[in-house]
């Protein structure tokens, strides 16, 4: 079957196409060149409409134990947003932490075709994949969390060589079926179990004598040497602490030019100036990102309203529980592997700190020059639910709208931000980079986020609208692997995406010591810890797509 999309204005940064009218042909789920003499079986006249690849969210908490605790914690937040079933859609609930089906539907209805869960605890990876297995419409994948697990910390204390660390990292990413590696508050989740309530970049974990700086360097090196394309995904130390801008700058310096992705960097860009001892560090962070080409960031923009923060960072979440709203919160220590913390938050535009957080996020977006190294996230649901992306896009593309919003926030916060003086407006092509081409590139996805020959036909078609929020919240069409799945912003067909993974090589002898460790200290057998492919595929809907590591052919 040949499908033709006729007359759209294409934004395809991966192929350096910037707003050019161009027909697109689709065959067997992929984009093909114009066939010589074949009539399309199906043609969509999209003359003058904006065409981009399907959007990719590289950091969104959509699957895994802590997300499910967040769901269970907030029944009142689901009650305000029930979603009825239809002939083709399952019932569910939305708002801050939607049910899995609603997550898939709402992402697709905004033109997204892939989303990555950034905090997969190895011991909870099975759950993450099962939940993502119930997220329709989207491709998915997970970053596996290391750095506070006792096995790794024991290796660090024992000064095991880098090769041994690499083998363990590769073994873990394969066992947990991940596509990247994340570190959360390096060593801090473990430190909390030893009753350390904070951990600075150069502060030692009291039991292991290891610092966050050591951990960052070791894991970033492992990623590079294993050829995993997604750089080490770093949720840094001191999240949310005024003055943490220095921690973040020191962390950037500390990785010595190794590729590193700083996630939700907004939460790590705070100074201590001003009457309230809380100020924007955005300019310093942006300057450092602009200079250090090894770095990339996603922002973790906050939006005003009710949400629930769900994080692996049990140490910082515990520290923040006093501002839980409503006043209920969960912390967990987990399996000598990691931890988690769930704290409901209500960001208010008339709260000085919240208002400045909002401005800091936008400052970072606007001050980082290279759109290939910055990504559009709210750290769903931590800064805001992902459904606020169209609004965020408008804030980035529309200076006068941004300034109108700025005028409404807490007056002291307004004085503390340079936002009003920044003229930059994101272009359509830049939005396509942030949400498509760049995201695919940095996660190492082959054949996604682009509209060239042989790329998968994940395509979103929008009607041009000066009001960018309206434009991006309701695409005319979304195609997933060449099939039309959304029309006029509504799901018309339920489909199931693939799970993206990487499989770096490692020395099998690493399993000898691991097996001993599992038998002695863990509560399950090493063989039962490892997730087999059929666990993801046996329901007949799931599939696995293996992406190459650097220099590897698949």
């Amino acid at each position: 079957m040949l499908t033709k999309l006729t007359g759209g204005i294409v934004y395809d940064p991966a192929n350096k196409i910037n707003g050019k009218q161009k027909d697109i042909y689709i065959k067997d789920g992929k984009i093909v060149n114009k066939p010589r003499n074949a009539d399309p079986d199906k043609e969509y006249n999209i003359k003058g409409k904006v065409v981009m690849a399907g959007a990719i969210d590289l950091h969104t908490h959509i699957g895994g134990g802590k997300g499910n605790i967040a769901r269970m914690l907030m029944p009142e937040n689901h009650r305000i947003d029930p979603v009825a079933h239809t002939d083709i859609k399952r019932a569910g609930t939305g708002h801050a932490m939607p049910s899995t089906f609603v997550t898939g539907y709402r992402y697709a209805e905004m033109g997204y075709t892939a989303a990555f869960e950034p905090a997969v605890l190895p011991v909870n990876a099975r759950q993450a994949h099962m939940e993502m297995g119930d997220v329709p419409m989207l491709d998915k994948g997970g970053y596996v969390m290391l750095g506070s697990d006792d096995y790794f910390l024991r290796m660090m204390t024992a000064k095991k060589d880098q090769q041994a660390i690499n083998d363990y990292v590769a073994w873990t990413i394969r066992a947990a079926q991940g596509v990247g590696i994340k570190v959360v508050n390096p060593g801090g989740i473990s430190a909390f179990k030893f009753n350390q309530r904070k951990l600075d970049l150069d502060e030692k974990n009291t039991h292991y004598n290891v610092t966050p700086r050591d951990i960052l360097r070791s894991l970033a090196t492992a990623i590079k040497e294993l050829g995993i394309k997604h750089p080490l995904h770093v949720h840094g130390s001191n999240l949310g602490v005024p003055g943490n801008v220095q921690t973040t700058l020191d962390s950037i310096a500390g990785v010595d030019g190794l590729p590193v992705h700083l996630t939700h960097v907004q939460f790590h860009s705070y100074g201590t100036e001003g009457d309230f001892k809380f100020s924007s560090g955005a300019a310093k962070i942006a300057e450092s990102i602009n200079k250090n080409k090894n770095m990339s960031v996603d922002v973790g923009q906050i939006m005003f309203g009710q949400t629930v923060t769900a994080s692996g960072d049990s140490q910082r979440q515990y520290a923040n529980h006093g501002i839980a709203s409503p006043n209920k919160w969960v912390c967990m220590d987990i399996e000598c592997d990691a931890g988690c913390g769930l704290v409901p938050f209500k960001y208010k535009d008339q709260n000085f700190v919240n208002a400045l957080q909002w401005a800091i996020g936008l400052e970072i977006f606007l001050l980082v020059d290279d759109p290939w190294r910055i990504f559009l996230t709210t750290d769903h649901p931590n800064g805001a639910p992902f459904t606020s992306y169209p609004h965020l896009i408008r804030l980035l593309m529309d200076k006068s709208f941004r300034n109108d919003m700025l005028a409404t926030i807490h007056p002291e916060a307004k004085k503390m931000t340079t936002l009003a003086s920044i003229d930059r407006e994101y272009t359509m092509q830049e939005i396509a980079i942030l949400t498509r081409a760049g995201a695919a590139k940095i996660t190492g996805l082959v054949g996604r986020g682009a509209l060239g020959k042989n790329d998968w036909a994940d395509i979103t078609v929008y009607t041009e609208n000066e009001n960018r929020e309206k434009m991006f919240e309701k695409p005319d069409y979304v195609f997933k692997n060449g099939e039309m799945v959304v029309k006029d912003g509504e799901i018309v067909k339920t489909v199931w995406g693939t799970t993206h993974v990487v499989r770096p090589e490692y020395d099998k002898s690493v399993e000898k010591d691991l097996k001993k460790y599992f038998d002695k200290y863990m509560t399950m057998k090493m063989g039962n810890f490892t997730i087999s492919d059929d666990e993801i595929t046996e329901d007949g809907r799931g599939s696995i797509t293996v992406h190459p590591t650097v220099g590897e052919k698949i």
């Binding site: 699957g63 134990g65 499910n68 769901r71 269970m72 914690l73 907030m74 029944p75 689901h78 009650r79 029930p82 009825a84 079933h85 399952r90 019932a91 569910g92 609930t93 932490m97 939607p98 049910s99 899995t100 089906f101 605890l121 011991v123 909870n124 099975r126 759950q127 099962m130 939940e131 119930d134 006792d150 909390f192 179990k193 030893f194 009753n195 039991h207 515990y318 839980a324 006043n327 209920k328 919160w329 969960v330 912390c331 967990m332 220590d333 987990i334 399996e335 000598c336 769930l342 002695k520 200290y521 509560t523 399950m524 057998k525 063989g527 039962n528 997730i531 087999s532 666990e535 329901d539």
Partner: protein, 422 residues
Amino acid sequence: MTTITEVPSPFCGIGSDDLTIQVDGVSIKVTENGCAINTPAFEEAIADIDPRVDGKMVSLDVAIKRAAKILKKANQSVIGGCATDVNGMRALMALADRNGAVVDNMNFTGAKRNFLAMQDSGWMNTTLAEIKNRCDLFVVVGCDLEAFSPQFYQRYLWNKESMFLKDTSKREVIYIGKAPSGKASTSPKKAKAKVLECADADLPEVMAVLRALVKDHPVSVDEVAGIKITDLKKIADKLKKATYGVVTWAAGALDFSQAELTVQMLCEMVKDVNASGVRCSGFPLGGKEGDQTANQVCGWQTGYPARMRFSSDIPEYDPFLYDINSMFANGEVDAFLWVQAFNSRSVPPHGGKIPTIVVARSGMVFEEEPDVFIPIGTPGIDHSGHAYRLDNVVAIRLKKLRDSGLPSTAEVLTAIEQALVS
């Protein structure tokens, strides 16, 4: 005959995964690492393999059609039990969504006490491996732990080696409420657990006083429910001196009115200990017969734990209204589906004269024959699957051990759902 090692168990709740099992045709023998719960559950022989309608043997197809007919006609169907694996629960939810059914996990009346506390104020909890490697003070509230889990002490407290304790036999165990029924809590060095006994109904008072003592509030009585305040004060002090204290309870065992307030008291006390400057965690016990699995799957698919309904086309949660027993008592039900893949003795509650479908482990014996009975395979024996352990974090990969030909829960419920549409 084949021998299978490292077999995980969905029965004991603690996710034992080191059983060795011998399979001879369809008969199973646990040869290593069994226990009073796991061994009989694995070894139970297959009884019926044929479905029945009105007590007569029929083909699976006929039974499914009849089940669908009953559900289709119903104004308000309820699905109880919900004791199955992840895929079984997924199929159950799809069927409930399509049929507008109530979903009520059989252990929810116990679990509700935890959910109400958690959804009101939250908690700080831990998991098995943290206990095994860190816990130096273990407080059991209102629960006979070894009856709940015969292997708990041996596996997670009296383990020889731990990463962070030099001598695990020095761990201290304290009981408040029920006394232990055996000696499992006695340490390898013969140190007996300290027991402060009181009636279950007195636990609200005792826990309130213990929390007050943790917070250094003045307490003006000398004893509470027969327990000396000085003894409770010692426990409060121990909690605030421990390196990694753990307080455990089984919501199902706290069988008195408004026990959720006792759960909440206990969880808030754990937070208070953390606020005082040391670490301490709660550890709720549960996880039997798929209850965590039911709540997890229902949670990610609807946002709510497994006492909810789809009657108005949307998920609605109410831990009181959708209790199937009270729905039966109020005459609110006109079709009843009972799903129990793990335990053939766990028969459906009596709902009165209501059309009843039972999809359950082969061998279930009924006082009153249901309209439809479909015997199914057991997850982890007859087919592979996933089940959650009590700590709600670890899902174990269940293995298929034999070829019995019995269908899985998911196969049967999906077929019923399909038959509803056609």
